[in-house]
Amino acid sequence: MVPLHWYLTLSAAVFMIGMFGFLTRRNIIIMFMSVELMLNAVNISLVSFSHYLQDMRGHILVFFVITVAAAEAAIGLAIIISLFRNKQTAHVDEMNEMKG
């Protein structure tokens, strides 16, 4: 039997890697993927909690998280496309229309 702590530590590690990517990367698409990584980390911990608590709520929440992630990706990528039409970039440092 694998202890629950191993799963939770794995989940925390993936979450932190995702957060690190979000804070340091400058390409919008990769920043977005880092957020997906964080969501996956949350899913790992929810599923393992569910397994050890012998309860289905975690699975239900994971189901909704995946649904929302799909919706978020659709809208996010649509915004990136309309952004790209106006300015050929996906780099945050190139976005400096507003300052202050």
Binding site: Y7, M56, I80
Partner: protein, 170 residues
Amino acid sequence: MLQQLFFGYYAFMIIILSLLVVTRGNPVHSVMWMLLLFFHIAGLYLFLNAEFIAAIQVIVYAGAILVLFLFVVLLLNLREELSLRQIAGSWPAAFFIVAALFITVTAALGAYVQGPVGSYSIEAIRSETHTKALGRLLYTEYLFPFEIASLILLVAVVGAVVLAKRKLRS
């Protein structure tokens, strides 16, 4: 012992692949590593007796979301971008914050006390099958959130069309 070896393999691969996803310069490579990562996470879910979640992890995450990412990355063709700075200059600060947070969280995890145990033991789920158990809950107890999720998908469809369609009537 075998179980722990399996977990060790998955954990190792998941960590390495997530590091590859956030450190690669070319978004196409990142997407590819992420694809492999999602298959490994799905394997982990199978390990935790969550067959349905493992299936939608592969079908929705790897099959739909990542393909959308790949599609956009290839559509935009960001070749010139690669010469730009990919990592913010302040990355050591971010690394310090994230490492401190990781240590705090893992230290706090030591104080974890098991919550109340529910009625869905492995045997109960096996006898009913995971998909059926989940479906029954979604359509009875969790009907309300399920309906909200359908509205979220509707908004996503409308929003994506409004933002990305080439011409709109006014």
